[in-house]
Amino acid sequence: MGDHHHGPAKGITRWLTTTNHKDIGTMYLWFSFAMFLLGGAFAMVIRAELFQPGLQLIEPAFFNQMTTMHGLIMVFGAIMPAFVGLANWMIPLMIGAPDMALPRMNNWSFWILPFAFAILASSFFMEGGAPNFGWTFYAPLSTTYAPPSVTFFIFGVHILGLSSIMGAINIAATVMNMRAPGMTYMKMPLFVWTWFITAYLLIAVMPVLAGAVTMMLMDIHFGTSFFSAAGGGDPVLFQHIFWFFGHPEVYIIILPGFGVVSQVIPTFSRKRLFGYDSMVYATASIAFLSFIVWAHHMYTVGMPVAGELFFMYATMLIAVPTGVKVFNWISTMWRGAMTFETPMLFAIGFVVLFTMGGFTGLMLAIAPADFQYHDSYFVVAHFHYTMVAGAIFSMTCAVYYWLPKWCGRMYNETLGKTQFWVSFVGFNLTFFPQHFVGLAGMPRRIPDYALQFADFNLMSSVGAFIYGASQLLFLYNVVATIVAGEPVEKEQVWEGAEGLEWTVASPAPYHTFTTPPDVK
């Protein structure tokens, strides 16, 4: 800790050996963006194949690999590391800490990630190809009928799970022990709160995922029969274990996004966040409920009616705390002196589109109705409204909001707004028609479809290409800002912004809050 007065080391070793939370945050963000482009490229392949009915470009076997890897890369490679990067950058700045609680572990938890995804992506070049069983890797597709590369997939998941667990422990330890004097729990910015709760979710369920893939490994190589009915096991057990991890996982993905939006909307409404306390309790309630609703992903496996009813009501209960959050965001905007800079556009876009995703979620929660929606494109539309318009929009929002603080330069507002509108139109054009084809019976994960779905699929594909292009615009805007953006002089970049991160210089110095700030 003797290097307080030094800047960063020079060259590549800076990045390999750094324990600085800002460096590590930056690496997480760039890595996740690279994964986002990779997963996005897979999505483009999928949409290109689905542009017309029939098989045009790729073989069905490769299509399956594309859908699987798109899901895996986006969930584990793009969204989760992006929010961990954001947490690394912002949590110490927001709670007045000099760094994360465990800086060395922080370095390690980042640097094992590229290896995890190198292992995962290398499976494309193996005999039998990459994993092709869907990102949910249901047994026996992922055990008895899996390509040989499944073992590499399992090790990849182990490593990225380890990385997530270390990142989560680090964040929880930072929030619990590194807050500046006077920064009580109920004074923490909401982004810190949502991440604190997310960290607990990660710590609770990533080991469950590790357990699930370990059982797969044992079934495949060591002759056990956890998921094989022939040996006295049960493939449905896999689904229970997977979704016991998987449902909290979707909140792991969205809660930090809630936090971001809860920072941005007050800033550009020039009002305090409406109902801070209720926001905290709503987040905690959502996290708790996420543990008792997992089987709503598997209504059709043959559960007793009592089970279906329990999971149906418990799932619908989640609409209550989520509704509290949405109404609080709207109430924050109510009679505020609103301006519509790019982060605010993305935040409002998030609220509108995520709410739509929430409503389709309610539809899917109705057990008897779900028998029709199950495994259709309606589900695809639903979870892209929550994950893309939820997680990705809020992430983009966060980048625009804090980029001036990170690099001391202002992004191009016109380009930013253009990117928002192109994204917004492209996104809705892609996924809104999928509600219709889903309700009409188009199944997901199939490379071909019946002729009556052709028009809507053509719209979806065009929308997807537009949305994909908007991300290149985003990349350009960020790079152009870093290289040649208008320098920002003020510490307080946005006039309505509150919080400790706006009391440090722009760009944020390499070391901040080496003496703790006074929090009133």
Binding site: A168, A172, A173, N177, I203, G211, M215, H240, I241, G302
Partner: protein, 189 residues
Amino acid sequence: MSEAREKAIGRTVKKLSVVVVAMFAFVFVVMVPLYDVLCDALGLNGKTSNERYRAVAGEVLTEREVTIQFIAQNNDGMTWGFRPADNVLRVNPGAVNETVFLASNPQPRAMIAQAIPSISPSRAAEYFHKTECFCFNQQPLDGGSSTEMPLQFIVDQGLPADIRTITLSYTLFDVTPDEVSDDQHLAAR
């Protein structure tokens, strides 16, 4: 960083690490057994009882017939011949029925097998009583020989009226405990 804070961080990390290990163990020692217990209690996944059913004298419902289908299959790497003598039986609820499964060991050495049963539809599992079953025990068989393996069962009178066909499936596992068979296991993968 102050020493007190470092200690506090250490304590936090220890606690959270315990949670991580506990959750990993939770999957294996709680979720899997709990699932089995729940399935047993609710009769969910077609697992039949491994206990011999104590036959009780009961009324035979001669006016009702249920179709019982038998399926036999080998697990990966198992080389035995294995098939039911009767593919289909039509039985009356309450009556005691007997059939045999035929097994042959084509290998030149003695092997031991274990059959694992499963019932479909799973709701029928609790109404399918086995009074005698080769699956209750392991089945040793000399090289090149064959045998008949008996099954005796009663379909419960309380079987729900909408179930007219029950499928009983057996999968045969190689449980020979020597290293020769381990080599075969690996070779078969």
